[in-house]
Symmetry: C2
Subunit: 316 residues, 2 copies
Amino acid sequence: MKKSVVLAADLGGTNLRMAAVDSDGSLLCRTSTATPRSVDHMELLSAIELLARECREARSGELQVEAFGIAAAAVIDFDHGRIRSSPNMPELNGLDLSTALAAKIGLPVTVENDATAAAIGEHWLGASRGVASSILVTLGTGVGGGIILNDVPLRGIDGTAGEIGHICVEPLGVVCGCGSVGCVEQYSSARAVTRMACEVRNQFPDTLIEDKEDLTPLDVFNAGMRGDELAIEIFRRMGSYLGIALADLINVLNPEVIVIGGGAAAGWGLFIDHLRMEVQKRAFQQPAERAKIIRAQLGDDAGILGAARLAFIKLA
Amino acid sequence: MKKSVVLAADLGGTNLRMAAVDSDGSLLCRTSTATPRSVDHMELLSAIELLARECREARSGELQVEAFGIAAAAVIDFDHGRIRSSPNMPELNGLDLSTALAAKIGLPVTVENDATAAAIGEHWLGASRGVASSILVTLGTGVGGGIILNDVPLRGIDGTAGEIGHICVEPLGVVCGCGSVGCVEQYSSARAVTRMACEVRNQFPDTLIEDKEDLTPLDVFNAGMRGDELAIEIFRRMGSYLGIALADLINVLNPEVIVIGGGAAAGWGLFIDHLRMEVQKRAFQQPAERAKIIRAQLGDDAGILGAARLAFIKLA
């Protein structure tokens, strides 16, 4: 008898990744491709169909694929499986992705926002496993967020809830891509860490941080671990500002766990004390003591696992 | 046949108010007293018992009292009807209020936080009637908040959720009673409006705002409506800072309606444009356009009505 699995995909502006996932959350086969970009969505749908076929054929003797879940970097109408809008993939705006994919691959389809899917993944099998109310914060190109309250993902009436990265932490601060100023994303994302390092490196002539294009938060962290003052200062800023935003969330939502993932989480050892100090200073004592602030456990697989979880739930 | 009603109370640090409420939300009789203060809670329980008896006896021929709901200025353990802590009534800390009251008045008792109860009241019969996801912001001595998401009040694991007044809007700003700095409560509460007016009135020698102890936001508003520059500037600041906090909430929660009540809402005509401008500048377009920002409709009765609603729900 074949094992029941779902297919799950993570669709970003750069890569499309897919895997077959069993009910325990094991990824049984993985495949990926560069996200095709064109004026309409046909190429993208074909690419998803192709990967799905690969996954199904690779182990067709053993696996029975029952459903398909996809996490996309977009604002989602979850109930109808539609893409409302996607800043990085505008060709998807308004697309009824679940119907289009169901027609191509013959499976029931669930569509979720990628940050929310990642929060669902961590809630299922990762750092917030077994916890009713949690917030996932991802420190990547931007600062993303997924919120789960009483075991229910918070999507909002338009599917835009969870934009933690655009909490204001400096009312007259750095201009943000969203149109506002002083968003926490401008101080605590992976991109912000490297940007801040480049901005002030001239004031630190002896810095160990290399002057290179593809500087990563891990490079900055490694310099900091060797005592580099600039790196230490960058992560102090980064952690303090993130602490302001998390204190806001703790006061407003009183969550049990806040999970931090993404590239800039690599600097954990250099920012977490500053972050916690800021939270302690700013949030009410009881919810601040309650909210465990911990690292994500599922890495890049969180979104796929969240999409898989939703696909299983739809089947049940 | 007698009409089924509940008794509902609003317990603040200054006043204890009570009414009988029918299933349509009509307040059939009202009574109130100064909140008794002593080292233990016995006097307070007796005062509640006395008002409850008054209410029941006043129209005992017509009304059948079925349950009792109470909104208290405290952190509540809703599921167990316990007071976790009350900064203004520390004699209640840890009290199993529902059991203690049920023993005295012989009715099933529901206990809720006053700000959450007010949000439930507005959701039942006021400005957010029929709306699944709403936020109530009260601009009184402090800035209070009650959040309802998908028709469910958000209480948080410790009952501390909804502390909207302590969202940071100025990271190095005015020191707040909560221990943090730059909380929106320090810029947008009723107390902040009058404090700011007093702080800078020396710089406005011609101001129409009187130099008096019991200055109210309505006094400041009235001066502003006569063109007073200081008053106009105070409400500009007040509205802009509140706009920063509401933009955060709109980005994170994507609510349908934000309801503003409390004493400082009296300045509506002078602050709402600044508030909306700040929200438009800072929040994402879609959720910002979605979130209607409107005035509360139930005034001081919101808490009692919310407590009554919960008492009816418990009966059902």
